[in-house]
């Protein structure tokens, strides 16, 4: 190789190395992630109307859908919904109520949660907002995962049915950080089974895991809280996340852990445009 050719090759190499650095491989924006995510599910399930992803496994499996429609003639979450509606209206000891803590009196706001609070610098889920509301009014926080927390979020979701997820990522580096952390959690393999959230709910979405149909990740949170027959009771997103963690044999995090909140932020943002359908029922 002549000396001149060597120089030319070095120049080409330099252009490749440094010219290419202008667009780093990790240049994806949340909006681009979202489009790619939604396009994937659209092409994976071409027959499914986008809004139907709110119905999880029932959107992609006709037999399950039939059973679900029968269950829905008498939804098993009815009792929880009633309990939540009653509790939502009850005044705190200081005379205020939940309605005072939320925009629009807490009616029809589920689709805006979780949001990034630029004051506190963290992701606020609906469950967390409910407990912060209680604490601000001198009440004890509710236990996460089941019971009254599930009933209250069930009522708040029910008043928001049909409104599409509208999660925003404000122009704040901390919000972007929370989003990226949630995204990383979603795609990171963990536990003895070495699964990531994406292994089941993206790659294998719609397929069977033993007797269950894996719900597509898109809009997967729209139906929460859910009455899950396997649980025999209501459960919130926390309950689902901790159960998922345990099922892939990793150590579940505490409910409302920062990592779970970031995950909820990422997942809900991916599902922007999917209407709220909660409370839901799942096998």
């Amino acid at each position: 190789m002549s000396h001149r050719r060597t120089v030319r090759w070095l120049v080409v190499l330099a252009v490749c190395l440094f010219g290419g650095a202008a667009s780093p491989p990790d240049s994806s924006t949340p909006a681009a992630d979202q489009k790619a995510f939604q396009d994937y599910f659209r092409s994976r399930f071409p027959g499914v109307p986008f809004a139907d992803f709110a119905n999880g496994p029932y959107a992609v499996d006709a037999a399950m859908r039939k059973q679900w429609e029968e269950i829905m003639q008498f939804p098993p979450y009815d009792f929880a919904l009633d309990e939540g509606k009653t509790a939502f209206a009850v005044k705190f000891a200081n005379g205020k109520s939940y309605a005072d803590c939320f925009a629009n009196g807490g009616i029809g706001v589920r689709q805006n949660y979780p949001y990034f609070d630029t004051k506190t610098g963290d992701v606020v889920t609906l469950d967390l907002a409910i407990n912060r509301c209680r604490e601000a009014n001198g009440e004890k926080p509710l236990k996460y995962g089941t019971g009254m927390m599930a009933s209250l979020t069930a009522y708040m979701a029910e008043t928001s049915r049909g409104k599409s997820f509208d999660i925003k990522i404000p122009d704040d580096p901390r919000a972007r950080e929370a989003y990226e952390a949630g995204k990383q959690f979603f795609y990171t393999r963990r536990g003895q089974l070495n699964f990531s959230c994406a292994s089941c709910h993206v790659t294998a979405a719609g397929q069977r895991m033993r007797g269950d149909i894996l719900a597509p990740a898109i809009g997967i949170l729209a139906a929460f809280p859910i009455y899950r027959s396997d649980w025999g009771s209501m459960g919130t997103i926390d309950r689902r996340f901790t159960t998922c963690s345990a099922q892939m044999r990793s150590v579940p995090l505490p409910p409302q852990d920062v990592a779970y909140r970031n995950l909820e932020y990422f997942l809900s943002y991916m599902g922007n445009g999917v209407p709220i359908s909660g409370p839901g029922t799942r096998p």
């Binding site: 008498f74 098993p76 009815d78 009633d82 009653t86 025999g232």
Partner: protein, 103 residues
């Protein structure tokens, strides 16, 4: 306190279809709580459906029936507006009753 019973009864041309959901823990007596203490049995023993005062179905339930049980059946006859009464009694003697109209 809201009723523990939900009922929906639809009168058709020849048969009436009845669905009911009852809120009840249905503890079998064989399950331990998180402290390892047995949860005492607490389950419904009898459910009765009456149509215009006449018993049309009696169910003897035991510990094997699931929590918040659901029941669906149909009977011949029945017209819109007829009275339907649902009653349950559990092993602790607790009871609840609901009166509904056929739709």
């Amino acid at each position: 306190m809201p009723s523990t019973i939900r009922v929906r009864a639809q009168a058709g041309d020849t048969v009436t279809e009845v669905q009911a959901l009852i809120q009840h823990p249905m503890d079998s007596g064989f399950v331990k709580d998180s402290n390892g203490v047995l949860i005492p049995p607490h389950h419904i023993e009898t459910v009765t459906f009456e149509h215009n005062g006449k018993i049309i179905l009696t169910a003897d339930w035991g510990p094997a029936v699931s929590k918040d049980p659901y029941i669906k059946f149909s009977f011949k006859g029945g017209a819109k507006g007829d009275a339907l009464t649902v009653t349950w009694v559990d092993n602790l003697g607790k009871t609840d009753m609901l009166e509904a109209k056929l739709a």
